[in-house]
Amino acid sequence: MRWAVAILFLAQALGIAGCTEPARKPRAAYLLIDAARLRSTPAQEVLNYFLSAIQPGESLGIACLGMGNFSDRDTIVSVSLDVRPSLAMQQKRFLKKKFDEFTPSPRSVGHLDIAGALLYAVAHLGETHAEERYVLILANLGKEQIPEPVKEFPLQMEGCRVISITVENGEPAVRQQATALKRLDAWEEWVETGGGEWQVVNDLALLATIFPGS
């Protein structure tokens, strides 16, 4: 009799457990946005997507890529969300507010320090102890003004996924030019040499598959 009740309890547990979500590894993301695109529509869309997709207990950081060497001053905001949904919601609002209020410092000389920003982002993501780490770059890496990475000094990027978003006003910015593709290949090789994963996204709808929400 008791075993039958136990079996029925188990069946009920399995029935209800079937309604629950599968386990998800803790995630952390860092957005590196070109200062020139900070207020662009793709940047807003990417940020909005991440704000709605990120879950309590996960981390999100945003930094602005200005001219010159990357430093702490370029960090807009970085937050590890609380595990309680209500507090996490407040933190998301704070994050959005900080982003909206941010004004990039005027620096007219130099170039975009993508490598430095990546170094910073990877280090920051490492501190979160997240199992899945994402770095998103909203900058045109195919531009000639951006220096190519130094192959001799690869970054340690194990478990890190670097995603280059090459969307500008809804259209692919990287023209199918041989040089631009070559430069992107160089970045890919550099990231993969460091143990990371490289991906180029031309369509923002793909973000839902890369960084799924709830």
Binding site: M1, R2, A4, V5, L8, F9, Q12, A13, G15, I16, A17, C19, T20, E21, P22, A23, R24, P26, Q44, N48, L51, S52, Q55, P56, G57, E58, V83, R84, P85, S86, A88, M89, K92, R93, K96
Partner: protein
């Protein structure tokens, strides 16, 4: 030299070689005919025997399972009827206690009414004073001739008048006395009515007891039938088990739906209590916590039903004394109420969170966002559902008990039916192999038709020659 060339008997003519090979093969098959027949028949008989054995074993197993199921069903039926009888006797005891406890008072009332009726009747039987004896004298005087004596006539007239006056007075008294008797008899009427009501009430109570007694008789007859283990009783129990099993399963399915709804109501807000990012195994902690709450509620519901004596899943709980059971039932009910309250609060938090999330999504979409308009209807609805569902799930214990109790019988019936079909299939398969063996023998002979034909011809001729000789001998 290739492998194909090995089979060429007649170089340059493959067709002839093939025909020669066929001839060789037919000759070989003809020579090996009887051993081959025996081999085919033996093989088919072996498979037939094995399958028949398996079929018999399966049938034996089916009989054992059926006997065991029958035993289980009879035991369950006996237990159930005993329980029904016990309840019926309890009801009779309650009826006797509640109805017949007032019997002495009724009897007292009846005696009192009888006494009053008797008294009043006696009062009514007091006769009015009889008419005086001189009535006859008056009649005699009235018959005397009045015109005989002038002196006597006035006297007689006077006497007559006096007597008539007395007579009128007497009659008036008599009529009054009769009226008084009638009035007294009229006063007895309510007492009679009261007596009639009391007797009717007593009759109704006795009738109710009789009805209960009839139910007990029916239950007792069923009980005796089950105890006698008759086929009719087993058939009735089988049908009853199947019906109750499927009904209970349907009810439990509904209860499971309720549990799932309950889970969805509290799973999200539970993350406010235990966090929304931790996992236990492959499940979110908040989901596991919500699941645990639902399980605790269901367990409390089961215990409550057990302590109230509605279900009897755990005999050890039923053996507790009544006082302890009442206490434990109260405790279970309190825990259930607290959990229901917690669920209602969680439902409120969940609605708040959903509103916040909606507002945030809107603010992301249009970059400013407006405060969501919140109405009390969904919040109240969710809270009421969260409050009521734990108590509603408590009643799931009743179909659960039914499912558990009939499950064993249904399982046995299903297993017996499956075994019966398996036995039948095995036997049929065995026969199929046996006939296939016979068919194989016939097919074998079909392959060696030419030598068989020759053999038949030779035998025919031999027999004919022998017959000819036999015919010659008598001559």
């Amino acid at each position: 030299m290739s492998h194909r060339d090995l089979f060429i008997i007649w170089p340059g003519s493959p067709l002839l070689s093939v025909l020669l090979w066929i001839g060789v093969a037919v000759a070989f098959l003809y020579l090996a005919r009887f051993p081959a027949h025996r081999a085919i028949i033996s093989f088919s008989r072996m498979i037939y025997g094995a399958l028949r054995l398996a079929s018999r074993s399966t049938l034996l197993m089916e009989r054992k399972v059926a006997a065991r199921t029958r035993e289980v069903m009879i035991n369950a039926g006996v237990e159930e009827r005993e329980r029904a009888l016990e309840r019926e006797f309890q009801r009779i005891a309650d009826t006797a206690t509640s109805d017949l406890s007032g019997y002495p008072a009724l009897q007292q009332s009846l005696v009192e009414q009888s006494r009053k009726i008797d008294e009043e009747y006696r009062n009514s039987t007091l006769l009015p004073p009889p008419p005086p004896g001189w009535v006859r004298a008056v009649e005699v005087l009235a018959k005397l001739p009045a015109e005989g004596d002038a002196l006597v006539a006035p006297i007689l007239t006077h006497i007559h008048k006096t007597v008539e006056s007395q007579y009128q007075t007497a009659m008036t008294d008599y009529n009054r006395a009769v009226s008084e008797r009638q009035a007294i008899l009229k006063k007895i009427m309510p007492y009679w009515r009261k007596v009639s009501e009391i007797l009717d009430e007593m009759g109704n109570r006795i009738k109710r007891l009789e009805e209960r007694a009839k139910l007990v008789d029916i239950s007792m007859a069923e009980y005796q039938e089950i105890r006698s283990q008759s086929d009719q009783a087993v058939r009735a129990l089988t049908a009853s088990s199947l019906t109750r099993f499927f009904t209970a399963a349907a009810f439990l399915f509904i209860a499971l739906g309720g549990a799932v709804l309950n889970f969805h109501l509290i799973a999200l807000p539970m993350s406010e209590m235990v966090g929304g990012s931790s996992y236990i195994g492959s499940f979110r902690s908040s989901s596991v916590a919500a699941l645990v709450i639902i399980f605790v509620e269901f367990a409390m519901g089961l215990c409550l039903m057990e302590f109230l004596g509605i279900t009897r899943l755990f005999p050890s709980l039923g053996q507790l004394d009544d006082k302890m059971r009442r206490r434990l039932a109260t405790a279970a009910f309190l825990i259930l109420t607290i959990l229901a309250g917690v669920e209602a609060s969680l439902a409120y938090v969940g609605e708040q969170l959903a509103g916040e999330l909606q507002f945030f999504q809107q603010s992301l979409a249009n970059n400013q966002g407006t405060q969501p308009v919140r109405t009390w209807i969904p919040v109240t609805g969710q809270m009421v559902i969260a409050l009521v569902l734990p108590f509603a799930l408590t009643f799931g214990a009743i179909p659960l008990e039914s499912l558990v109790k009939t499950g064993r019988s249904v399982l046995g019936i299903t297993a017996a039916a499956a075994l019966r079909w398996a036995a039948f299939s095995l036997r049929a398969l065995g026969h199929l192999f046996l006939h296939l063996g016979r068919l194989g023998v016939q097919f074998y002979d079909l392959l060696i038709v030419p030598p068989l034909w020759v053999e038949g011809l030779v035998r025919y001729r031999c027999r004919r020659a022998e017959g000819f000789l036999e015919e010659q001998v008598p001559q």
